[in-house]
Symmetry: C2
Subunit: 89 residues, 2 copies
Amino acid sequence: MELLKVSSKSNPGMVAGAVAGIIRTSGSAEIQAIGAGAVNQAVKALAIAVSYLEGDGIAISFVPSFADIDVGDDQQLTAISFKVESRKI
Amino acid sequence: MELLKVSSKSNPGMVAGAVAGIIRTSGSAEIQAIGAGAVNQAVKALAIAVSYLEGDGIAISFVPSFADIDVGDDQQLTAISFKVESRKI
């Protein structure tokens, strides 16, 4: 599954375009975000991707989960992972 | 559909419990959040609700959208609305 990393500075419209492209070709994707600002941008991107894909007859929904990310020096951060599911409408 | 309003100070575990309860009885729910902190708490709550409901054989996913909220004095804020969908697993 293709993994997109989103930060608080990511452009939601661009992330939405990337998500839509991955979903059109493979049907599933995963987005990872660390911190409130990044999670907010990811959710905005997902809301935009919903409307991008509606025009292609594809409905998407998301399952969030917590993911421990290794950031070196034996340190870990907790990220939010959004698994994107799709179905024809 | 039952509407839960989440703020940046909401406790994700408590919101998750409320979401799980609504999903068990009605099968669908809606969460509304304004601002990055509130969106982050809502997503954490949904991630926790996923594991609460797995034990009941229920899978949930959400669809985010933008919603204009009237806050009086002819002012509007943009909220994120999370529609929660469920299915038996």
